[in-house]
């Protein structure tokens, strides 16, 4: 029988990681991820998790130790946040280019300066090009489930790439809610250990193409590109299989909510999707045709899924806790680019919100929808890039 526990998002991730039985954990504590590291070291200490826990001195070492462990075929877990993720940046590309199926949790937190420990999504979104699969959870249950599913996707022979599971700092990491804990034997059956082909093995020595000059470099990137795209269908397949075993499914790279016949849709990711859902219900009750598209996977990017889901929608707003200074929100850039493939491109707007932990109220989201509905009704709206609830001119 699965067990229900009242725990925070960090504890949910730690339990998910424990159920995946990593053989090596290398991590360095950072707010708001710290509880994950504390719990995992407790499990190793009390013997309930048989893993080698490496107390590294920095995030750079956490990722390089993880790379070393994964390169000899060990199932590996790490976790970080914000400045820690940036400090890992060099290693992130080694891990993806080395096709190492490391799973990492990122507690989404603002980047300095200004120094700030609160949640926004600028840390992981700054690393979209690092070659990692990037998944975003809406609640603690999904964070646990994604941590387990991440191994299924990462270790798939057709993928072999590292996976980052992102959840909003504090809003998810420090909020307690009811989480159902899957049974260990079923998780074991879902993600059995396997010897992957590219591991360093004294019995079967081979070149792993750690160095590749102009003659092979492009081909390796092309293969990595195809494998990254492949991960999208693997995510959907993993979600279906997980659903059969544990009774919970979330869909594939995107999830839509009341988008059929919608005039205006907000596209977002992470926990604010939950708040948006409440606003959609309220406005639908008032007869307004609004909907939500939640992105669960930023890499690979769900291009066709977004085009299909937004067909017939007149105005689309991308609400994100990120800004690419001097341009727009980076999720908006991605969504807008995808919609260039649409036969009838809707008007699009970039809503920058929640930076440095600024609260996003239901009324803020309602205001975003109101702007989209005015556009949909034929009144052109501006600006395209709007900082939501700004305290200065």
């Amino acid at each position: 029988m699965s067990e229900k526990m009242f725990i925070c998002g960090d504890e949910a991730v730690a339990l998910g990681a424990k159920l995946a039985r990593p053989q090596v954990i290398a991590a360095y504590p950072i707010t708001p991820q710290t509880i994950v590291v504390e719990r995992l070291s407790d499990y190793v200490e009390d013997g309930s998790l048989d893993a080698q826990y490496l107390h590294v001195e920095s995030e750079h070492s956490a990722i390089t130790a993880s790379i070393g462990a994964a390169s000899v075929g060990a199932r590996t877990f790490t976790a970080t946040s914000s400045q820690g993720l940036l400090y890992m940046a060099e290693g992130l590309y080694y891990a993806s280019g080395g096709r190492l199926p490391i799973v990492m949790m990122d507690a989404n937190r603002s980047l300095a300066l200004p120094w700030n420990i609160y949640g926004d999504q600028r840390d992981s979104l700054s690393q979209l090009e690092a070659g990692w699969i990037q998944l975003y959870a809406e609640d603690a249950q999904e964070a646990l489930d994604l941590t387990i599913q991440a191994y299924k996707i990462a270790e798939d022979p057709e993928v072999m790439l590292p996976v980052m599971v992102c959840l909003d700092g504090f809003v998810l990491t420090h909020t307690y809610e009811v989480v159902e804990i899957p049974e260990q034997d079923k998780v074991d059956a879902f993600i059995p250990y396997q010897k992957y082909a590219n591991r360093m093995d004294l019995e079967h020595p081979m070149s792993n193409c750690v160095t590749a000059g102009p003659d092979y470099n492009m081909e390796l990137h092309y293969q990595q590109h195809l494998a990254t795209i492949k991960a999208g269908e693997k995510l959907e397949a993993a979600d279906k299989e997980y659903g059969k075993l544990f009774g919970r499914t979330y869909g594939g790279m995107i999830e839509t909510y009341r988008t059929e016949d919608a005039d205006a849709v907000i596209v977002t990711l992470g926990s604010v999707a939950g708040t948006t859902r409440c606003v959609v219900d309220k406005m639908r009750d008032e007869g307004k045709k609004v909907g939500l598209l939640r992105i669960r996977c930023m890499r690979p990017f769900p291009v066709q899924e977004i085009v299909d889901a937004l067909k017939g929608v007149k105005a689309v707003g991308v609400l994100e806790k990120d800004v690419d200074h001097g341009f727009e929100g980076v999720v908006y850039t991605n969504v807008n680019s995808a919609l260039m493939r649409a036969a009838d491109k809707p008007a699009t707007f970039s809503f920058i919100a929640g930076l440095g932990g600024r609260s996003i109220l239901k009324s803020d989201i309602e205001n975003c929808f109101a702007k989209l509905l005015r556009q949909a009704a034929g009144t052109p709206q501006s600006p395209t890039v709007e900082f939501v609830k700004l305290g200065c001119e």
């Binding site: 009242f6 949640g119 809406e138 909020t175 708040t275 109220l361």
Partner: protein
């Protein structure tokens, strides 16, 4: 949905109270719950907030609590406009104080409950930790969680050496408020 806002100072256990209520109704009464602290750095003695949201259906709202059904104040030096702000009509305000209820003139249509939880805590725990008696006062005033559920939550969440004393303290505070009603 029922929303509770807890006011305390860092170290007084306001968030533990928010979580204990959450554990009681989530695990022992099978409801959907969120419990969270005011986000950010933790500082002993600084004013802190904690929140509990309770509903019969899944709670997807992740925005901050703006209006609440119940407000619980663990330290009466925190009393002010920010305590009554957002408290709904027909709500309940519970204050830990040695003062008379008349020291907190009503500014809205809510039920005011005062209790000297510090005296009870000093008597039973030997320490001025008032999160459990304040949860008891709220439980008695609101009737929204059963005594058995909270006692079970204390067993689940508090360290073994402080469980029995806190259960005794819970019952004492609960009866004190029920007796006043």
């Amino acid at each position: 949905m029922i929303e509770v806002r807890w006011h305390g100072r860092g170290g007084q256990g306001a968030f533990t109270a928010a979580r204990l209520l959450g554990q009681a109704v989530a695990i022992h009464e099978h409801k959907y719950v969120q419990a969270f602290p005011s986000f950010g750095p933790e500082r002993r003695g600084a004013p802190v907030l904690a929140f509990t949201r309770i509903d019969d259906k899944k709670i997807t709202d992740r925005s901050e609590v703006e209006n609440c059904d119940y407000v619980v104040v663990l330290d009466d030096t925190l009393y002010g406009d920010n305590v009554t702000k957002g408290l709904k009509d027909g709500g309940i305000l519970v204050i830990n104080t040695t003062k008379d209820a008349s020291a907190f003139p009503k500014v809205g249509n809510y039920q005011l409950v005062t209790i000297d939880a510090t005296a009870l805590a000093l008597d039973i725990l030997g320490r001025p930790i008032t999160n459990v008696p304040m949860l008891a006062a709220l439980a008695a005033a609101s009737g929204n969680v059963s005594v058995d559920s909270v006692l079970a939550a204390i067993d689940d969440q508090l360290a073994p050496r402080i469980r029995e004393k806190n259960k005794k303290l819970f019952v004492a505070a609960y009866n004190a408020v029920k007796g006043d009603k």
